[in-house]
Each structure stands twice: as C-alpha cells, then as structure tokens.
C-alpha cells in the first residue's frame, strides 16, 4: 500500500527527485517530451489560425452584405447616391433573391479544437430561391485530402499524442527495474512498492499535465488575453484542464497497473499500444459502424430529386401556388381586373415555385437532419466506452466546433429562412416597393447558443467520467499493491 505517513511522503518526494534526475539523463524521455511540447504549441497555433480564417471569412461576407444593403437602403428613397438605381433598390426581388448570409460565429475558445468546423459550413445562404441553389452557398474549396485526414490541432495532440508520450515515458515505471534486478534491491530497503510507484508517477504526472496547461495559458496570454478576463471562458478553461488531466491520468494509471501486474516491459508496451489502438481507433470504428447502420437516411441528392420531380412552369403554376398565400392573408389577393384575378408577376411566381420546391424536399431534408441528430445521440450514448470519443466530443463542445452546435445552428437557419420568406413573400406578391423603413425591418440572423449551464453540465459529466476511470485504475493499483 502507499504509505501516507510523513516519512513515506518524504521518501516519495526523494524518489520523485531522483526520477527527475534520471529523466534528465534519458534521451528518449527528452525526445518524447520535446515532441509533445512542439506538437502542442503547433496544435494551438493551428487552432488559432483556423479560428482567424473563419472570422476573416465571416467578417468579409457580413461586411459585403451590410454594405450592399446600406447602398440599397440609401438608394431606395434617393437620399444618397450609392451607385444603385432607385428602381432596383425599390424592387423587393433585388434583396430577396440576392439573399443574406446566416453566420455561425466562432466561440472565443475555438482555437482549442478545430472539430468539425473545417468541414461544416460556417455560413449558410438564405434567399427566396430553393435551398439547393442559394447563390451564397457556393462554398467548398477546402482540399478534400485535408478534410479526410483532419487538421492538426490541440485536441488531436491531446487525444492521440499525449497517450503515446505517456506510453513512452511510463511503460517501464517498475518493469525496467524488475528486469535489471534492481527492484528487489530497492524494495529490500525500508520503502514500500506504493511509495516507490508514487515517487515515480508524480514527476511524470506533473510534467505531462503541466505542458498542455502551460502552452494553452501562454498562448492565450499572448494571443487572446481577453479570454482570461471572462468568467465564462475561465470556467470552461478549468473544465478543459480537468478533461486533459483526467485523460492523462487514465493513461498513466493504465501504465502503472500494467507495471504492477509484473509483465515485462515489452509486454507492457504491447498492451498499452493495443489499448491505445482500441480506444482511438477500434471502438470508434465499432460505434461508427453501429450508428451508421442504425440511422440509414436518404441522401441529399434524394432531396434535390424530390424538389425537381415535376417540372414547373412559372406562368402556369404561379396562380395556384399563390392561392395558399391568398388563403392565409386575403388582403394579398389582387383586385379582379376584367373579370379575372391577375396572375402573379414573374418575380412572385418565381418565389412561389422556389418555395414549393423546398416544401417538396423538406420531408427528405427533415429525415436527413433527424438521422444525423439520431446518430449524434447514439454517439453521445456510447461515448462512455471510448475515452477518445468522450474527450473529442467534450473538447469540440467546449470550443463550439461540434456537430451538436451545428445542428442547432442549422435548425435556426431553417427558421430564419422561413422568416425571410414571410417578409418578402407578401411584398413580392403585392409588387410593393421597398422603402427605407422596409430595409430597416429586414430580418436578421443571430445564433442562439445552448444555455451555458447545460453545456457546462455535459462537459463536467465527461470530465467526471474520465476522472472516475482514472480513479478506478488507481483503485486497481491500490488493490494490486495490497496483494
């Protein structure tokens, strides 16, 4: 057992100091630690670059849109010369078709995990056209090779590299001494195996926990000091530390337990590598296969086909499509001229046809979105059996780069699209001119994030699970020591 008396702790401290000296002399340990420092610093920098790239994109597009709307608004009442014809500015089609961009803002801790943000669109165009042909949605230039491999960020360094470094510097905690025959010699002295293990583990744990924390703090102080002044972000950073340290402790605990089982160092390396492959690859594969099989959904192309199954003819289909709007708001029905209801204009017919196309595709779109959400729920439910998934999901959550946040964003964009139609539909049907006041009333999009306490609770649950597993391994070590 690990002694808790002052003398045992003093001894453990001396062993730790001795281990530290040995560590200094070990080339392999230096290489592994040096690599960890470099890769983590590089990872944080990668996250910062990606976050800056997203911010630049969003600002560029939002500013362009704002400037365009400003010019149109100014031209609509002729109050300023903005290079736009007044007739163009007064035509609701100009804005309704040109559309708008609903942006997903980066969070302030986005640099900690790129997550799905390199793959999923951070801007979605909203227009009166059907969803498949919104002009603002011409995104998608990221190199597919890079999307498939993913980007190098802090979460990759933590999830994939940190365990490898733990394996490198902790596989031979006791095994090497046992193989050299020095373990028996040491234990013949008045020192318990527990104290020896504690002394050996402590400097490694301090080093491995200190590196990521120091790198993240140094980066934030240097590049984004305002984050450290925000209570919410500080709280999230604390959870991040809990997650990373808990994950590291799990691997250190696994190495310690295997060392206590008396295996050879080669066998311990093999067992730890097998555990690493299982945690980071095999279990995620199993969950991926299971979740995919359980959530079969139509493809996006099915939605495209559904919206285009039956071709439309604007002048023939416009009148009957307009009836829905007239039924909802009789004031939109135009006055009878020469004994008949005048057909909607081309602009109004175009709007109505596009709306109908979206309605035809919407059941399939809804099925796809529901399947994606179900898949995410399955992953959430099974994440407990893979630490890598548990940590990946928690870090993406924390950085605001998760699929969960994107699903929420997509649902809000869908509601915004509807508001856009509700705003422009009546104006197009009436052929009403846009006034300056109308420009001021155009719906805007603001992303509403999940309540902070719900996010925090979910991340804390993940952190507690990691610590519980690490604690279970520590308990296993204690039992082994007692035996």
């Amino acid at each position: 057992m690990i002694g808790t008396s002052p003398s045992a702790l003093r001894l453990a401290r001396r062993i730790a100091a001795h281990e530290w000296r040995l560590f200094h002399r070990s080339g392999l340990a230096w290489i592994a630690t040096g690599l960890l420092v470099c890769t983590m610093a590089y990872g944080v920098h990668g996250g910062l670059s990606m976050a800056a790239r997203h911010r630049h994109s969003l600002e560029q597009v939002v500013q362009e849109r704002r400037a365009r709307l400003g010019s149109l608004a100014a031209a609509s009442d002729g109050s300023a010369s903005s290079g736009v014809r007044k007739a163009e500015a007064m035509d609701p089609w100009t804005v309704a078709y040109g559309g708008h961009v609903a942006a997903l803002p980066s969070t302030r801790l986005a640099s900690l995990s790129i997550g799905q943000s390199d793959l999923l669109p951070q801007m979605i165009g909203v227009s009166i056209t059907n969803k498949q042909r919104v002009p603002e949605d011409r995104y998608g230039f990221e190199n597919p090779v890079h999307l498939a491999v993913r980007r190098f960020d802090m979460s990759f360094a933590v999830i994939v590299l940190l365990p490898l470094v733990v394996i490198t510097i902790a596989y031979d905690l006791l095994a090497r001494d046992r193989e050299d025959g020095t373990l028996l010699l040491v234990l013949s002295q008045p020192v318990s195996a527990g104290t020896l293990l504690l002394g050996k583990l402590t400097p490694r744990a301090v080093l491995l926990a200190g590196i990521p924390i120091a790198i993240v703090l140094a980066t934030l102080v240097g590049r984004a000091p305002d984050v450290l002044l925000s209570g919410r972000e500080l709280l999230l950073l604390c959870v991040w530390v809990m997650l990373v340290v808990g994950y590291m402790m799990f691997w250190l605990g696994a190495a310690a337990l295997l060392n206590l089982r008396g295996s050879s160092s080669a066998a311990i390396v093999l067992q730890l590598v097998f555990l690493w492959v299982t945690v980071t690859l095999l279990v995620p594969v199993a969950i991926h296969v299971g979740a995919s099989a359980a959530t079969q959904a139509p493809s996006r192309l099915d939605a495209v086909n559904a919206s285009r199954d039956q071709p439309f003819e604007y002048f023939q289909d416009g009148p009957w499509l307009a009836e829905r709007w007239y039924a909802r708001d009789p004031q939109l029905r135009p006055a009878i001229v020469d004994g008949r209801v005048p057909p909607p204009s081309f602009a109004a017919s175009f709007f109505l046809v596009q709306e109908e196309m979206d309605q035809r595709a919407s059941p399939i779109d809804a099925q796809i979105e529901a399947a994606v959400a179900r898949k995410q729920r399955i992953v959430d439910g099974w994440r407990w059996i893979s630490l890598a998934i548990l940590l990946r999901e928690a870090l993406n959550d924390l950085a605001g780069t998760s699929l969960r946040r994107h699903l929420r964003y997509r649902a809000q964009v869908e509601a915004y699209r509807q508001r856009w139609r509700e705003f422009f539909g009546p104006r197009l049907l009436r052929g009403a001119a846009m006034t300056r006041a109308d420009y001021g009333a155009i719906p805007t999009f603001t992303m509403i994030d999940e309540p902070f306490d719900a996010l925090l609770r979910r991340m804390l649950t993940s952190a507690c699970a990691l610590w519980a597993l690490a604690g279970a391994l520590a308990g296993g070590c204690a039992l082994r020591l007692r035996d």
């Binding site: 597919p144 890079h146 498939a148 491999v149 590598v273 993406n396």
Partner: protein
C-alpha cells in the same frame, strides 16, 4: 441541372476521398460551381475518427501486425541464445534474412489472400464485362502498391530487429514508428500543406471572381464598359446604327459574350485553385519520404478512382457540358429569338440538348497521375530491404 459524380467499383475497397468530394455539381448559367453535398457533412466527429475500410486495414493494421511479427525476429533469437547457434551452423546471412521474410510473408498471406479472393469474386459479380477489365487492372496496380508497402514494412521491421540491442528496444522503436507515421505524420502533412500553400476561403475566392467579373481581369474594364464596347462591335459588324435594327437578338449575343468572359474568369480562378492543390500534394509527397502510408494512401485512392485527380476530370467534364449547354441556349436566343417579345423555344431545341456522359479515365492514366507515389513506395521498399541486408550483415550474436 445537376451532374452526379459516379462512384467506381473499387470504392468498396478504398472509399478514398468519396465522402469529402461532394456528390454533384449544380450546372447553371453564369456560374461555375464547385461540387456540393459532401456525405461527410452529414456525419459525426466519430465518423472522421474511424473510417476503417479494407484499405484502412491494409494501410494501418497490417503494418502493426508486421511490427509484431518482426520485432523479435533477430533480437528475440539473440535474447533466447539461438542466434549464436544458427549463425554457427554456417547459414548464410542473406538466406537467414530471406527465410525470416518468407515466414512473415506466409503469415501475411494467410490473412490477406482469402480477403483478396473474396474481394475479386465480389468485384466479378458486381461489375459488368467492359468495366471488369479496367477494374481488374486497377486492382492489380493497387495490389502492386500494397505489395511494395508490405515489403517496406517487413524490411524495416527486420532491419530494426537486427540492429536494436534488445527486442524491447526494437518493439518500442517499431511501434513508435508505426504510431507516428500512421497517425501523426499524415495529419502534420495535411496541416503543413495548408499552411505553406493555403487554400483560399470561399469568401476570398468568390470575392475575387466577382471583382474580375465586375471590374475586368485587369481591373480597368468594367462590366458596363465591356457591354458598351461589345454593342459597338456588333453594330459595326452588322452594318447598322442601332441594336434594334440588328437581324439577330442582341440580348442573346450579349449573353454569349458575357458567358465567354465569365468562362475566362472562372478558368483563371479554378486553375489557380488546382495549382494550389497540386502544391499541397507536393508537400504530402515530400512527407511520404518519412511516412510510406502517405504514398500508399495516395496510390490506393487513385487506383480506386476516388482521388482529387479523378474528381478533377469529372468536374472538367461537367463544366464542358455546362458551357456547351449555355452556348446552345444563348445561340438559340441570339439567332432565333430576334423578334420582339418573349421568345419560347420549341421541342427541337430540347432534342438538341446533349446528354451528360462521363467516362472514368483508364487505369494507366490513374497510374501515370500518381506515379510519384509508386516511385516513393518503390524507394521505401528498396531502402528497407537494403537496410535489412545491412542490419543482418552486422548482426552479432
């Protein structure tokens, strides 16, 4: 109109970039669009962590098996004391090395050959006769690449086992090499390529396109100025003083001219993008010298027809079709729609609209495109075999 990207029969073995390439291109007037609807966008973060196909197993798990089979090949014999006995029997060292390699190859064959036979049968059953020849050639070339990859891994494993002072060190070095080159270097390659040669953001790309369309590619030839110049040119060409007197529809001609200019702008920007991807690929190729998995991945994906090069040929075919279609429509309007009022085309126009047909390039084209990956794999195999030879020559009991 949409052009839908086909998926080759070998996608069952290696899905490559399929999930990240997009499924279809929306073909419309005025704009050359990128491919949309990447299936990966409807996946979770776990999907990206764990896409293990047959190719993934061959690229990641077979090398791990090779590490386990090779780390003790010589170092284990030395620790057991049998190495001295074997060498004292006068067994030539090269024979010793070949024997070890053949033994490992036999174990690998037990794992790989049945899977390959099942795959070949499945391919035969699901592919039509004309496609089967190409699929067979692609499979053979793919298998050749994997053969070189395995030779490289076995050679390296045996070399490390021969050189390392103990089997423990050999295991540590080999598992470290496997983990770092299999999981870390490809991600670093992708990140480094992106940093050295950044892909333009969509907003930058479209901003630049819009700028060129509005202001002209030289920045001094606005859309309005181009329109006026073209109008003067057409009027002069037909010997009339006003566009209303033209025997053709000026709007149709203006569309043709606008599309011609737009095509030039899009060619300019998409070719820059393609060049950027090529620069990024060169970074991957350089890092393939450190991690052969990068080379085999490129080669395998190319043979499966799910790489960027195949994607490029599809996108180009779709774009040629789009331009042809635009031209057909605009010429119809220009030369048949001269009368005032709304012009409605008859069915003969739609009968002249061609079908979009795309033929996947043949296996040799794919091999030529990625010959650098094959050379890298060959280089790795040769270097590993030579290193193993040198290691066995210096083997001490």
């Amino acid at each position: 109109m949409y052009a839908v990207r086909p998926v080759g029969p070998l996608a069952a073995v290696d899905r490559g970039l399929d999930r990240y390439l997009g499924s279809a291109i929306y073909l419309e007037a005025h704009y050359q669009n990128p491919v949309r609807y990447r299936p990966a966008e409807d996946g979770t973060a776990v999907d990206r962590m764990a896409e293990l196909t047959v190719a993934g197993i061959l690229q990641l798990l077979i090398p791990l098996l090779i590490v386990l089979l090779t780390f003790g090949a010589f170092a284990g014999e030395r620790e057991a004391g049998t190495l001295r006995q074997l060498l004292s029997l006068g067994v030539p060292r090269r024979t010793f090395l070949v024997g070890k390699a053949l033994g490992i190859a036999g174990v690998l064959a037990v794992v790989v050959v049945p899977a390959a036979v099942i795959g070949a049968l499945a391919l035969t059953a699901t592919t039509d006769a004309p496609g089967l020849t190409q699929a067979g050639m692609r499979s053979a070339l793919m298998a050749g690449g994997y053969g070189l990859y395995c030779v490289a891994c076995v050679g390296l494993g045996l070399a490390v086992s021969a050189i390392a002072p103990s089997s423990r060190v050999a295991l540590l070095v080999l598992t470290g090499w496997w983990a770092v080159t299999g999981f870390v270097v490809p991600v670093i390659a992708s990140d480094l390529a992106e940093r050295l040669h950044p892909t333009p953001t969509a907003s930058d790309f479209w901003h630049a396109v819009k700028q060129d369309l509005d202001q002209g590619v030289d920045g001094h030839n606005t859309r309005t100025a181009r329109y006026e110049a073209f109008k003067q040119q057409v009027v002069a060409q037909y010997g009339v003083s006003r566009v209303e007197d033209l025997p053709v529809n000026f709007t149709g001609l203006a569309y043709l001219e606008s599309e011609r200019y737009g095509d030039m702008v899009f060619d300019r920007h998409y070719s820059r993008l393609a060049e950027r991807y090529a620069q990024q690929q060169r970074v991957h190729d350089v890092l393939a010298m450190v991690a052969p998995i990068i080379a085999i991945r490129s080669w395998s994906t190319a043979m499966a027809g799910s790489d960027l090069a195949h994607h490029g040929t599809f996108a180009q075919a779709a774009e040629r079709f789009r331009r042809r279609l635009n031209r057909l429509m605009n010429e119809e309007l220009a030369y048949k729609g001269a009368r005032p009022g709304l012009y409605m085309a008859d069915t003969s126009l739609w009968q002249r609209v061609p079908r979009f047909e795309y033929q996947t390039p043949d296996a040799w084209w794919a091999a030529g495109e990625r010959r650098r990956s094959l050379l890298l794999l060959g280089g790795w195999a040769l270097a590993a075999v030579m290193l193993a030879g040198a290691g066995v020559r210096s083997l001490t009991p």
